[in-house]
C-alpha cells in the first residue's frame, strides 16, 4: 500500500481537492465505506483510516482495519455449515453475525436430485449474494450469470488461520494490496489458498508442515504489519526451514 495516502479521522471534512477528478464524462462520485455525504456538498468521514481514491471509477473510500466483520453483498467469505435443512444450509460467517443461508441449489451442477451433502462444521467458500440489516445474509457458491462455481464451493482438507480483516482485504486486492509473502512462497513450494473477507485464510499445502508454514507466514506478516523487506525476510526464513 502506498505510504502517501492521507490519514483521516472521524468527522474530518474532505476537501474537494482530495476527491478524485472524473477522467471522462460526468460519472457521479461514489462514496465507499467510511465516508458520508452531508447535503448540500460536504463530505465527511465516519471512521479513522487512509483515504483512498480511484479516478477511473470516480470513487473514494476509507481503508481501515476493523475488528468485526459486517457482511456486505459481493464479498467472498469462508463460512462454516452450522445446520443443514431441506431447502438450505445455515452457515456461520462469524460467531457474532446471524446465520447466513446457503440454498442447496446454489452449487455448481446441483439439482433437486443431486444435492450436495455437507456435514455440520464443514467449510464452504462462498460469495455473499444479499446482505442487509433486516434479513439474514444469503450466500451462493455459483456465479448466477454463468452457473459455474468459479473456484467457490466446499473446502476439503487444509487448515484455516485467523487474519485481520484489513489483511484479508489486502490479500484479495492482489498486487494493489502490497502483500508479497504468498507470491514469494509460491515460487518454491506449492499450496492452495482461499481468502475470506471475514478474516479467515484457508491453506492446503498437501502436508502439515507446508500448510502450517504458509499460514504462519501470513499471520506473522499480519501481526507485525511487515513491509516488503520484512515479508522477504519471512519468506526466506520459511523456505530455509522447509
Amino acid at each position: 500500500m502506498a505510504a502517501t495516502l492521507p490519514v483521516v479521522l472521524p468527522g474530518d471534512q474532505i476537501s474537494p481537492s482530495s476527491l478524485p477528478k472524473p477522467t471522462k464524462g460526468n460519472k457521479p462520485l461514489t462514496l465507499g465505506p467510511g465516508l458520508q455525504h452531508i447535503p448540500p456538498n460536504t463530505i465527511s468521514t465516519t471512521i479513522a483510516g487512509a483515504l483512498v481514491t480511484d479516478a477511473k471509477k470516480n470513487a473514494a473510500w476509507v481503508e481501515y482495519n476493523s475488528g468485526r466483520y459486517t457482511p456486505t453483498a459481493g464479498d467472498l467469505v469462508i463460512a462454516t455449515i452450522a445446520t443443514g435443512g431441506a431447502e438450505s444450509f445455515n452457515c456461520t460467517i462469524t460467531p457474532n453475525t446471524p446465520y447466513a443461508s446457503l440454498p442447496n441449489l446454489a452449487f455448481e451442477g446441483a439439482t433437486r436430485k443431486t444435492r450436495p451433502q455437507l456435514a455440520t462444521n464443514s467449510l464452504v467458500y462462498a460469495r455473499i449474494l444479499t446482505a442487509n440489516r433486516d434479513t439474514a445474509p444469503e450466500l451462493t457458491c455459483v456465479d448466477p450469470s454463468t452457473g459455474k462455481s468459479e473456484g467457490l464451493g466446499p473446502l476439503k482438507g487444509g487448515m484455516v488461520f485467523k487474519i485481520s480483516l484489513g489483511m484479508a482485504r489486502r490479500l484479495l486486492a492482489g498486487r494493489k494490496g502490497g502483500v508479497t509473502v504468498l507470491g514469494g512462497l509460491s515460487e518454491k513450494i506449492g499450496f492452495e489458498i482461499a481468502i475470506g473477507r471475514n478474516g479467515v485464510l484457508w491453506v492446503d499445502g498437501g502436508n502439515v508442515k507446508t500448510t502450517l508454514a504458509v499460514g504462519k507466514a501470513v499471520q506473522e506478516v499480519d501481526e507485525h504489519a511487515l513491509g516488503p523487506e520484512g515479508q522477504k525476510k519471512v519468506v526466506s526464513k520459511v523456505l530455509r526451514d522447509i
Binding site: P95, N96, G157, G158, K209, L212
Partner: protein, 292 residues
C-alpha cells in the same frame, strides 16, 4: 445471536494429524506453556496474568463482617468468577457456561479447600467480627488454559494483597487506614497451582496448556493441582476416554516440574514489585507484621 464458534471439521482433522506428526500449531513442544506474563496493579491485590492470548485479572478485596455461626474463629474467603462477553462470543452475563462452572469448582477445590489461605488469621473478634476476603476473577480474553491462568492470577493476587491492620480493645475493633499503618500481608500456607493436560488419541498424546482450538479437539482433560513441594491438592478428569494409571503418574511428574517453574516465576515477579514499591528502603520500618 452469540455462540461459541464451533471448530470446523477441517481444523479438527488438521490438528489431530499434526499431533500425530508431533507438531503443535504454534510450534511448541507438547509439555511447554505459552509465554506467561504477570503484572501487578498499583493497588495491592491486583494481578494481571497473560498466558499467550488468554488474559485473566484477579482482584482481592476485603471487608469486615460477622463470621458464620458454625465457624466463629474463621474469616470468610470467597472466589467469584466472571466471564466477560468480550472474551468470547459464547460468554453471556448471568448465564454460566460449562467452562465457568468447572472453573469455579476447580478454583474452590484447589485454593479454598486446600487451605491455601489461613482463614483463622482473618478473625478479628471471635464470633463477632472477621475479615471477609473476596477474590474476583475476570476473564478478559479467552484462548484456552483458563483454569491454569486463573489459578496463577488468584494465588499471585493473594500473595500480593495486604489487609489493613486492626486494633482490638475489648469488643471494640478499629480498622487502621493505610495512612495510619502499613497494611499486613495475608498468611498464605502454601501456593497450589493448576496444570491442565489435554489428551488425544485415546490417551496416547498429552498436551500441556492447550490453546482454544486444541481444547475443542481434545477427548478429555486432566487438571492436577499441586504446590511446589509436590503435594497434590486435587486431580480432576473430565471427558469420556480412559487414561491408564501410568500416564497419570507421568502427568504428575510433569506437573510438579511446571508448578516449580511457575512458583519461582511468581516469586520473582512479587519480589520485583516489592522492590519497586520500596522507595527509599522504608518498607521494613513501616511494616506492622509480627515475626512468627
Amino acid at each position: 445471536m452469540p455462540r461459541e464458534a464451533e471448530i470446523s471439521v477441517n481444523e479438527r482433522e488438521f490438528i489431530q494429524q499434526a499431533l500425530r506428526e508431533n507438531t503443535r500449531l504454534d510450534g511448541r513442544a507438547f509439555d511447554t506453556f505459552r509465554p506467561l506474563e504477570l503484572t501487578f496493579g498499583d493497588e495491592y491485590g491486583v494481578a494481571d496474568v497473560k498466558l499467550g492470548k488468554t488474559r485473566v485479572i484477579a482482584r482481592i478485596s476485603v471487608e469486615v463482617t460477622a463470621p458464620l455461626p458454625e465457624r466463629k474463629f474463621d474469616g470468610v474467603f470467597q472466589i467469584v468468577t466472571e466471564f466477560s462477553p468480550m472474551a468470547s462470543p459464547a460468554f453471556e452475563v448471568g448465564r454460566p457456561t460449562d467452562a465457568e462452572v468447572i472453573l469455579a469448582r476447580i478454583l474452590e477445590k484447589a485454593i479454598r479447600r486446600s487451605n491455601a489461605l489461613d482463614t483463622e488469621s482473618l478473625c478479628i473478634i471471635a464470633g463477632l467480627k472477621v475479615f471477609h476476603l473476596r477474590a474476583d476473577v475476570h476473564i478478559i480474553d479467552h484462548d484456552g488454559g483458563l483454569i491454569d491462568a486463573s489459578c496463577i492470577a488468584v494465588m499471585a493476587a493473594l500473595q500480593h494483597f495486604r489487609r489493613p491492620d486492626v486494633i482490638v480493645e475489648g469488643e471494640k475493633a478499629t480498622v487502621l487506614s493505610v495512612r495510619e499503618r502499613e497494611p499486613i500481608p495475608l498468611s498464605i500456607l502454601h501456593t497450589p497451582l493448576c496444570v491442565t493436560f489435554s489428551y488425544y488419541e485415546e490417551g496416547e498424546i498429552f498436551l500441556v496448556d492447550a490453546n482454544l482450538a486444541e481444547e475443542q479437539v481434545r477427548q478429555g482433560e486432566i487438571i492436577i493441582t499441586m504446590n511446589r513441594h509436590g503435594e497434590v491438592c486435587q486431580i480432576a478428569k473430565y471427558g469420556g476416554a480412559t487414561v491408564d494409571a501410568l500416564s497419570l503418574l507421568n502427568c504428575n511428574n510433569v506437573a510438579l516440574e511446571k508448578v516449580k517453574d511457575m512458583s519461582k516465576f511468581i516469586q520473582e515477579r512479587l519480589e520485583a514489585d516489592a522492590k519497586r514499591r520500596d522507595a527509599g528502603g522504608l518498607m521494613a520500618e513501616l511494616s506492622a507484621e509480627n515475626d512468627r
